[in-house]
């Protein structure tokens, strides 16, 4: 009985370790981000950092990002998430995220853009950005 339990604990631990992370521009003041707040940012329900600066969301329209989007936002994939943003943009309730075509391009955009945030499946090996693992 104990062996399956230990395996289950290990599996859950590994799954947690491999969970998605937020990558932000170094000028972002936030040092921590809850999973709920990250979800609200991805869904466009929150549009400013706590210091009042606008959040510049960078999304990678790449099937490889679908898993991270699914886990962090509850939306089915990046395209589904983007359709939610179009609801905001065409109804006058928000501005569109920056959309790029790869994770590498997203990281580069975050490095260059103050206030920006991108979601990636695992911590990147990239300079000029800061990684925040959402707290649950």
């Amino acid at each position: 009985m104990r062996a399956p339990l230990i395996l289950l604990v290990i599996a859950v631990t590994v799954a947690s370790a491999a969970a998605e992370v937020a990558v932000v521009n170094p000028d972002v003041a936030e040092k921590a981000l809850s999973a709920e707040r990250l979800r609200d940012i991805l869904l466009g329900r929150v549009s400013t950092w706590t210091d009042g600066k606008p959040i510049v969301l960078v999304l990678s329209d790449d099937p490889q990002s679908d898993g991270a989007v699914r886990a962090a936002s509850g939306r089915d994939d990046v395209r589904h998430l983007l359709r939610g943003w179009k609801r905001l943009v065409y109804s006058g309730a928000g501005a569109m995220p920056t959309v790029v075509d790869s994770v590498a391009a997203a990281l580069e955009r975050v490095r260059r853009t103050p206030g920006s945030l991108a979601l990636v499946a695992e911590p990147p090996q990239a300079e000029g950005v800061r990684v925040i693992a959402p707290t649950r």
Binding site: E36, D76, Y90
Partner: protein, 389 residues
């Protein structure tokens, strides 16, 4: 109309062509953080047994929409925006261009955003996005709750609004919106066209004293499950027209509209159900004849729907809805409808949709469109393709 479509097409192609280059260079208006977005769609309507929106038993291609908006964030916490919108829906609107929304918004914090201008009204789950094809799989929103011919009446107000997101205990949160202002409806809109056909005759005018409303959306601790209530009060909705030359028919009613909604988003499947109840009280009469009588409006509508995202590019939709002209006497004019639809999205910015409906009873048909009387069982199909940017 053609110039707007051409402008949209040019802007779309220009945006696509510039995308790669924009990665590497600074855009001209970066400090204003300007964005331009829009969409253009074309469709086709066909019905059997009854005409609906047009002479659709012969098929109608008088079905297109276009929008072009400009959004700017010139300062932190400040957002400005405006959108032009045009629609041709059978005999309604006929391509007239309208200022759809235009606002200045100040983001005080997550809990409060203040906005003023022409603002979309958050009624039910989807009223504020009723023209946004990307937001749904079917061609039309459920007509029992989102009246197709009254778009102009419900879609926006000229006034101010406060909205925000409040964190609650246990992973729950509450989105809210409060708004109030004036409502202006031009004399050549789809709403006035419909009211003219429904008995008010020529030269229909619509005016209100003021309107206020509110929306509260509770996101529960069950992932994807949310409940929403929406209330709208319209004070002194005055409609006047000449059914006979020189004889004016006028009505003046105060309205309450209530919509209760539930949405359960299970990632690949979204379930939704809404109930809408209209309550209008006032008078109607012909002043020239000294005739005036009290009148009331007790419309009611409801639906349940399911959307299945089978693949990244493919969605299926099924809904059943009911609509009653008088909630206190449901045997009067009413309709039951079954709707099935599919949306194919070959690219992120391009959709193709096919929707079919079967209707039992005739509430949605009008005599002008069916002068020999409407059939009680009838079918309709809508095709639509949309490109956005």
């Amino acid at each position: 109309m053609r110039s707007i479509l051409l402008l949209l097409a040019l802007t779309a192609s220009s945006t696509a062509a510039d995308a790669a280059v924009a990665e590497e260079r600074r855009e001209p208006f970066d400090d204003l953080r300007l964005e331009v977005h829009g969409f253009v769609s074309f469709g086709y309507l066909q019905s059997w047994e009854n005409d609906w929106l047009d002479e659709t038993t012969d098929g109608s291609a008088d079905f297109h929409e276009a929008a072009l908006n400009l959004i700017s964030r010139p300062f932190d916490r400040i957002r400005l925006g405006a959108q032009l919108f045009e629609r041709d829906l059978g005999v309604y609107d006929n391509g007239r261009v309208d200022l759809d929304w235009a606002y200045a918004a100040w983001q005080v914090g997550d809990e409060l955003e203040l906005a003023a201008g022409r603002l979309r009204t958050p009624l039910g789950l989807y009223n504020d996005v009723r023209d946004v094809d990307a937001a749904r799989a079917p061609v039309f929103l459920p007509r029992s709750v989102y009246a197709l011919r009254f778009r102009d009446l419900y879609v926006s107000i000229d006034g101010a609004a406060a909205k925000g997101l409040i964190d609650l205990a246990g992973d729950m949160d509450l989105e809210y919106a409060l708004y109030g202002g004036d409502k202006r409806i031009a004399d050549d809109t789809g709403t006035t066209t419909y009211l003219g056909a429904a008995g008010y005759g020529e030269g229909v005018t619509v005016d209100v004293d003021w309107t206020i409303g509110g929306m509260a959306h509770l996101t529960t601790s069950v992932p994807g499950l949310g409940f929403r209530i929406s209330v709208l009060r319209v004070d002194a909705l005055r409609i006047a027209g000449d059914p006979t030359p020189g004889i004016e028919l006028a009505s003046d009613l105060d309205y309450w509209l209530f919509i209760g909604s539930v949405e359960y988003d299970l990632r690949a499947v979204t379930l939704a159900a809404e109930y809408s109840r209209l309550r209008g009280r006032g008078s109607r009469g012909i002043a020239a004849l000294g005739v005036s009588e009290s009148t009331q409006d007790d419309g009611e509508g409801m639906y349940v729907s399911a959307t299945w995202r089978q693949k990244r590019w493919l969605e299926w939709y099924l809904a059943g809805e009911a609509e009653f002209d008088d909630a206190t006497d449901r045997d009067r004019s009413h309709a039951w409808r079954l709707i099935a639809a599919t949306a194919v999205r070959p690219m992120a910015h391009w959709s193709l949709k096919l929707e079919a409906h079967y209707a039992d009873e005739t509430l949605e048909t009008i005599q002008v469109e069916n002068p020999d009387g409407a059939e009680h069982h009838w079918w309709g199909v809508a095709l639509k393709t949309t490109v956005d940017f």
